[in-house]
């Protein structure tokens, strides 16, 4: 294989937009922002109040999982905290999420932690073993096994849960929760007691619930689970659906002690944020391959959305390879941005295009319908919020195409 192809393959690997952020973290590609790091705030608040609850919302690709992973790393450096990230969507069809699922997943994770912790290796763990067995029995009783991974270590003990069968009365308030929820609580409490006895605080960082399209279900589950985790003495952070921020769903944020909105970096107005995005790119490629002016162009086209920045850089790198260049230039970035914008315009109706044109021309965006919200969720419209003020723009890659449509006869 030629050295040029090998070299570009190596560059492209560094911009794995679809890869799990844990891989990027292991490779040293994740840079934490100096200002506005949710991970740092989580560490400080959970350090002070170990049983506090936290909700994180943000658009697709805004870096929420990355913040959870960074928070886990930071929290585990504290001597009295054990934190774990759990991607709920890896285990459960979140459309069928019911109260008790987070508790069971937390309990199973505690079981794994206890098994791996040398501190507990000489103790008689009969009670904990029984508790874990009961939790697993719940899986056997209520959950549908549809697969077990063989190669991937993470999947060895995984059970993919299609759904807990909710009893008919369950879809009400917390008082109506099925009795098995209380039993699940008791078993997880037995596991947690081990950590309480050693003055360790448990923190669960639940990821993947942002893909839940039904805010009412999210609220129902959270309403039952968060107080239960607090009774266990555990801290909880949950990545939730962006829709929790809007309209009638707004009270969802009040279920938590703290709430964070992971906005894109406001590229035009936030110099520190631009510097952060620049450092994200620089951590992946040196200036000889990715000149500073190319970074500036990528940051501008990304609209400050982390995953878009990475994806644009990967496509620009591909363009540079295809066009015979040894470095990524502005022309490569512009071709990548054009492709990106075209993807975003596919399938939009006249009404949606009108909304986008209004945002482009006047910066006016009102979330009047589900279609409007979908424009936010899909990042065709970006929301910059800071200190109570909110500004809207169309995704920068869409702007020139919308302008061209506007001028077309």
């Amino acid at each position: 294989m030629s050295s040029r192809l090998q070299r570009f393959r190596d560059y492209l690997k560094r911009f794995d937009a679809a890869g799990h952020p844990s891989r990027a973290l292991e490779q040293g590609f994740i840079v934490e922002p100096e200002v506005g790091s949710i991970a740092k705030t989580l560490e400080m608040r959970l350090g002070l109040r170990p049983t506090s609850s936290h909700l994180i919302v943000g658009g697709v690709g805004s870096g929420k999982t990355t913040q959870l992973l960074l928070a886990e790393k930071r929290l585990n450096k504290l001597t009295d905290v054990q934190a774990r990230v759990i991607d709920v969507s890896e285990y459960q069809d979140i459309a069928e999420l019911s109260p008790g699922v987070l508790m069971i997943l937390g309990g199973l994770e505690l079981g794994r932690m206890i098994e791996q912790d040398e501190v507990f290796s000489k103790l008689n763990l009969e009670a904990q073993s029984k508790a874990l067995g009961k939790l697993r029995k719940y899986l056997d009783g209520f959950w549908e096994h549809v697969g077990r991974g063989e190669d991937d270590k993470r999947w060895r003990n995984a059970v993919y849960v299609k759904a807990i069968t909710p009893p008919p009365a369950e879809w009400g308030n917390r008082d109506d929760l099925p009795s098995w929820f209380d039993d699940v609580f008791r078993q997880v409490d037995i596991l947690c007691q081990l950590y309480r006895d050693t003055d360790k605080h448990i923190v669960f960082l639940f990821d993947g619930l942002d893909r839940l399209g039904d805010p009412a279900r999210f609220e129902h589950v959270i309403g039952a689970e968060i107080p239960a985790f607090q009774r266990l003495g555990a801290g909880v952070a949950v990545v939730g659906p962006l829709l929790a921020l809007y309209g009638l769903n707004r009270p969802i944020t009040e279920r938590f002690d703290y709430f964070y909105h992971q906005s894109p970096v406001n590229v035009p107005d936030d110099a520190i944020g631009r510097g952060y995005l620049h450092s994200v790119l620089r951590a992946r490629l040196p200036v000889e391959v990715l000149p500073d002016e190319t970074c500036t162009a990528l940051i501008s086209w990304s609209g400050g959305v982390l995953r878009d920045l990475i994806a644009l850089a990967q496509l620009a790198c591909e363009e540079a390879y295809l066009h015979g260049s040894d470095y990524i230039g502005i022309a490569d970035v512009n071709r990548a941005a054009d492709a990106f914008g075209r993807k975003h315009l596919l399938g939009l109706g006249t009404d949606e295009l009108e909304v986008l044109q209004r945002v482009r021309r006047k910066g006016i965006f009102v979330q009047a319908s589900e279609k409007d919200l979908a424009l936010l969720v899909t990042r065709r419209v970006l929301e910059y919020s800071e200190s109570g003020s909110v500004a809207y723009i169309v995704h920068p890659t869409v702007g020139p195409l919308l302008a061209a449509i506007d001028k077309s006869p």
Binding site: K13, D16, I405
Partner: protein, 201 residues
């Protein structure tokens, strides 16, 4: 003003895919239903000519969970071509979106689907769609190789890099003397001499 994704033939797409091993890259190739078999076969051939890694075709068959299982079970070193999304309902796309973590893999994957199916993906699977970045292209039968200026630019970069002319490469291929490097396979495809690929490249 035409805002549909740029047209692309199987050769250019294969070159792009071949440049992205272990980069977690996902591609969408928008192809009318009538031509999907032909496009899939052409892409498979190009990929197999460029790289010894296996190329696997998986049919969506309307069930996101089943597809997720098959993607997870597929050989880790395989390039995946995912087809038959035309019957994928809005609910199936939404389920695929919720199951996105199951689709995470290092080697490239290409979705071959109609524009209508892609629009459904964009509406119902926004999280999954974000993995595609800008790698969404329209199938173009006439652009089965890079067209015009782009093709010439790429050929020139190959000539400069290897210090060989097109004629020399063709002669080497005819004599079975071409090095076993994917870029020589790409070179022959760009010269519309894919018929020589069995000769060493």
């Amino acid at each position: 003003m035409n805002t549909i994704p740029k047209g692309m033939g199987s050769a250019e797409l294969a070159i792009r895919v071949n440049a992205c091993p272990k980069a977690g890259a996902w591609f969408a190739w928008l192809t009318p239903k009538l031509w999907q078999n032909r496009a899939t076969e052409a892409l498979s051939r190009e990929l197999e000519a460029m790289n010894p890694a296996p190329v696997l075709q998986l049919a969506a068959q309307g069930d996101a969970l089943d597809l997720a299982h098959r993607v997870r079970a597929a050989a880790k070193d395989a390039t995946l071509i995912l087809v038959e999304f035309e019957d994928f309902s809005k609910e199936a796309w939404a389920a695929l979106d919720r199951l996105r973590s199951w689709f995470s893999r290092e080697e490239p994957a290409i979705l071959i689907l109609s524009q209508g199916a892609f629009e459904q993906l964009m509406q119902s699977a926004p999280n999954f769609a974000s993995w595609l970045g800008g790698s969404v292209w329209s199938w173009n039968a006439e652009a089965d190789v890079l067209s015009g200026e782009e093709k010439e630019q790429y050929l020139q970069s190959l000539r400069n890099h290897f210090g060989l002319s097109d004629g020399q490469v063709i002669k080497m291929a005819e004599k079975d003397e071409l090095p076993l490097e994917p870029e020589f396979a790409q070179w022959l495809v760009l010269l519309e001499r894919g018929d020589l690929l069995g000769h060493g490249a």
